[in-house]
Amino acid sequence: MTGRVLYAGLELLDHQLRDREGRLCGNVDDLEIERSPDTGELYVTAFVAGPGALLQRMGRRRLGGWIERSNRLVNDPERDRNLIPLSLASRLGPNIDLAVDAEDLATSDTERWVRDHLIGHLPGNRHRAPE
């Protein structure tokens, strides 16, 4: 067998995702796999991150699916933002480094929504938290 061998459950699932700045941006909750029309082999095409995906993996398929659909409806009905294409991964190790900003991932949706719709309307919201 040539090529690096990885065990999905051991070395990918639940591992930390980091964005291009090294910021933590979720965990790998599942993997999307597709069959290649050319070879018939199955390939991992994307990481799946988000509470909906995690719930589905834990057996709560109905609730997880509902959360995923709701998230898609609110944020971007055109595409599944819970999917992070494998091509965005720059390193697969104890942490998985992504060549993308955390802001662009669905895992930041709740934080972004709270910031834009709640925190942003409070008096004094221009105060910047110390680094």
Binding site: G3, L42, V44, A89
Partner: protein, 111 residues
């Protein structure tokens, strides 16, 4: 489809006898470099099937963890029954099982 649809799925022999459940999935990074990326594609190569405990996820299988000695030996014994079965030897249809094409899995899940 998702990997979670494969995990914990029962694997049966051609005659219907159970071999255990899928505890992990072996991937091999031997595909072409992904368009726009730096990683080679990850091919789903085999499933790790075990009758028993889910301890295969602790990493004491496959010779990847060298110690501590006591844990390595203990978990190694628990995981001795685990097999890696190539996906090519399995039929994965819409049913609840993965079915072996013939009755000979390709061996233990060693390194």
């Amino acid at each position: 489809m998702r990997l979670s649809e494969l995990l914990d799925r029962e694997v049966v022999r051609a005659d219907g006898r159970s071999l255990g459940k899928v505890r992990d999935v072996r991937l091999v990074q031997d595909g072409p470099i992904l368009a726009g990326g730096t990683q080679a594609a990850l091919r789903v190569d085999a499933v790790i099937v075990s009758r028993g405990w889910r301890g295969v996820r602790l990493g004491y299988l496959r010779g990847q963890v060298r110690g501590p000695w006591l844990l390595r030996v203990t978990f190694g014994r628990l995981e001795r029954g685990a097999h890696a079965i190539s996906l090519r030897d399995l039929v994965w249809d819409e049913g609840p099982h993965l079915r072996l094409r013939s009755d000979e899995p390709d061996g233990h899940a060693g390194p």
